[in-house]
Each structure stands twice: as C-alpha cells, then as structure tokens.
Symmetry: C2
Subunit: 204 residues, 2 copies
DNA sequence: GTCTATAGAAGGATAGAC
DNA sequence: GTCTATCCTTCTATAGAC
C-alpha cells in the first residue's frame, strides 16, 4: 500500500504546473514571480523548490511536455487516416485546431516564451517544433507528389498554414459567434485554398 | 536661431527609442531593466526619465507610434491602386510584407507585449490594430461583392491572411534562401488561394 | 512537505550636484 | 542634459524549524 503519511506532494506538483501555466500565459514568464505562483498554488514560495530546481526549469518543463503531448497526440491521430493526402490534411487541420483550442495557455507560452529559454533549452524546444512542422510538410509533399496539391513552396506553405491555424487562438472564445466545429470547417476551406485544392468554384 | 548649448537631447531621445525597441524585442519588456536600456543608449539610468515618465509609457509610445506609422503608410500606399479588389489585395499583401520585414523589432513588440500594457494603453493599441484589420476586411468585402473572391467568412479570412503574412517575420532572414520579392510572390499566390481566386489550376 | 526568515542581488524611480 | 547616490521595493533561492 502506498505511503501517504499526510503528504500532498503529487497534488502540489500538479497544482504547480497548472498555476505556472496560467500565470505565465496571463502575464508572461519574466513578469511573474515565484511568490505569485506560490500564492496561486496555496503554499509559500520556498515550498516550490521541492518541485523545481529553479524558475527557468519550470518554464522549460512546461514547454517541453506541451510539445511532447502535441507530437504524441498527432502520432496517434494520424493513424486514423488513409494515405490520401487530402484526407490527411483535413485530419491535420481539424486535429491542430481542436488540440490548440483545448490548451490555450500552454500554446500561448510555447509561442511567446521562446526567448526566455536558455540556449540549450531553446534548441530542445526548437527541435520539437520542427518535428511538428515536418508532420505537415510530409503531408503537403505527398499531396504535391500525387498531383492533388499545387504549391509554389513547400516550406512556406507549411509555415503559412501553421501560422493561420495557430492564430485562431488569439481570437476564439467559447460561446462566441462561431463554435469550434464551424471554425474547423471554415479554416479547412481556406487551407484547401492555400494548397490549390479548392474545389468550390466552378464545380464542374 | 535655435538654442543648442551643448545639449544632445534630441539625439538621446532617438537613441532611447532605438535602444528600447531593440532590447524589448530581444528579451521582452518585463525582462529588460531601465539600467540595461540606459547602458545601450550610453547614459545613466536616471537620465532616461528626462525622456519618458516611466517604463510603461516608454513601451506604449513605441507601440502606438509603430501602429500609427503602419496605418499612415497604408493610407498613402492604397492611393496607388485602382478600385479593382484583386489589385488592391495584391497591393495590400505586398505592402504588408515589405513594411513588416523592414521593422522586425517593432512588429515583434507590437505582437508580443500587448499583455504588458495598462488597460487604457491596451485599448488604444487594440483600436489601431482593428483599424488595420479593417483595411483588409474592406478589400475582401469589395471583392466578395464584385464576385471575384469566394469566402465563407470575411472576418476569419482577415485574421488568417494577417496571421500568415505576419508569420513571415518569424523565419525570414536577409540573405536567406529567398529574397523579399520572391516571398511576396509566393505569399500572394497563397493568399489568392485563401480568397478562392487562384487562377493557376485548370487555367481555362 | 511546508513554513518562517532571510541572504544577496536587482529592480524602478527620485534628489541634488554639476 | 547628465551624473552620482540612494530610497525603497521586489526578486530568486536557501537555511533551518516543525
């Protein structure tokens, strides 16, 4: 039987992740103090150092685990689709929107706090980010090869699509004008336009 | 005749703008100290307060003047085009890319430091930003009205296009694989795809 | 596992000499 | 217009009691 002599360490560790994610996203890494985080967790500042060696590592761990979850989730999700590039791209777009809208704070941090990482930590995150971009590039490349996509530049199309999809996070609000499903549909249409695969006009 | 008793105030004022822009972009507003800025300018920290009442106002002035220059520049530039929505959109895309690539640091700040503005300052910048988005929305609306653009949602298309164009700033490097003119061409192609006006495929 | 207390450094901003 | 000096606050991180 597990030892539980009054300790609440695991819960505190979880609470720390949650509090730090929320506060870093809201105010920025540099603007948030360990005391603020501690107050949000409900402990004193000193107690945080049982769970992280320092503030920098706290940020890094948040970003790395977020990116890893993203990569793992797509790894699983992509298994649901056939090899058809169009189906894969649709799957990717819907997956990206849904995943990112579910983790607004972590996504925000992953995009905004890169410059606050130490050099070594930065390159780890940059590699994960590139791995994710490669997932999309692979799909686009296959589509161009199969003649169903029409693209001038593979790399720039990758950047464009990820930028426009991730941009959703800056304006989307639950209970807003559009629900998530509608947003997916509209963006899918625009992405298909980017890759030269828009079949709406002159449908014959 | 102007009084110039050994004063270098105007130059220092300019240097302060430049130094703050560079350092805020590089490390983030919250992470940069007034002492660092002063060192970059080449004066002592106290001297900065001759040019700004406080750090917050320094940030706000940078952002506001950047956004105002953007709006003014498009006001001028847009006069160069006829009423043809396609020509206007091409003009906007090329203008946006060129303007933003010329001011990487100021653009970065305008996108990253919104959360470090006081409430009142934030709403000023938010209004300027919306004014800029409206410039694009107007073009898209005219194009839809004229039947040359095919869009599911005007607002989301506006967000998408601005997000993908501004994303260029995160990867573009002078002397990189592509020059600015080529980038403009490639993005123009993708934007035309987004608005359902891509005439490359099945060109008949 | 958490607290209190604190060391030691750095921050924004001001006062007064020059 | 700028400098030096400094006030006062806040920060990260650690030490030791419980």
């Amino acid at each position: 039987m597990a030892r539980k002599t009054g300790s609440s360490g695991e819960k505190t560790a979880r609470d720390l992740q949650i509090a730090a994610t929320k506060l870093f996203a809201r105010h920025g890494y540099a603007a948030v103090s360990m005391r603020q985080i501690a107050a949000e967790v409900g402990v004193q500042a000193g107690a945080l150092y049982l769970y992280t060696p320092d503030k920098q590592t706290l940020l890094f761990d948040l970003m790395r685990s977020h990116m890893q979850e993203l990569l793992d989730a797509w790894e699983v999700e992509s298994g649901n689709f056939s090899d058809d590039p169009k189906a894969l791209l649709e799957g990717f777009v819907r997956f990206h929107i849904r995943f990112h809208l579910k983790r607004v704070d972590a996504v925000f941090i992953a995009y905004m706090e890169l410059r606050n990482l130490s050099d070594q930590n930065f390159s780890t995150i940059a590699n994960q980010r590139q791995a994710y971009e490669n997932c999309l590039s692979k799909i686009l490349k296959a589509g161009v090869g199969a003649g169903v996509f029409d693209l001038v530049d593979l790399k720039l199309a990758t950047f464009s699509i990820i930028a426009m999809l991730t941009g959703i996070n800056t304006w989307f609000r639950d209970r807003g004008r559009l629900d998530s499903e509608t947003v997916e549909h509209i963006y899918l249409d625009m992405v298909m336009g980017v890759v030269g695969c828009k079949s709406r006009r002159r449908p014959d």
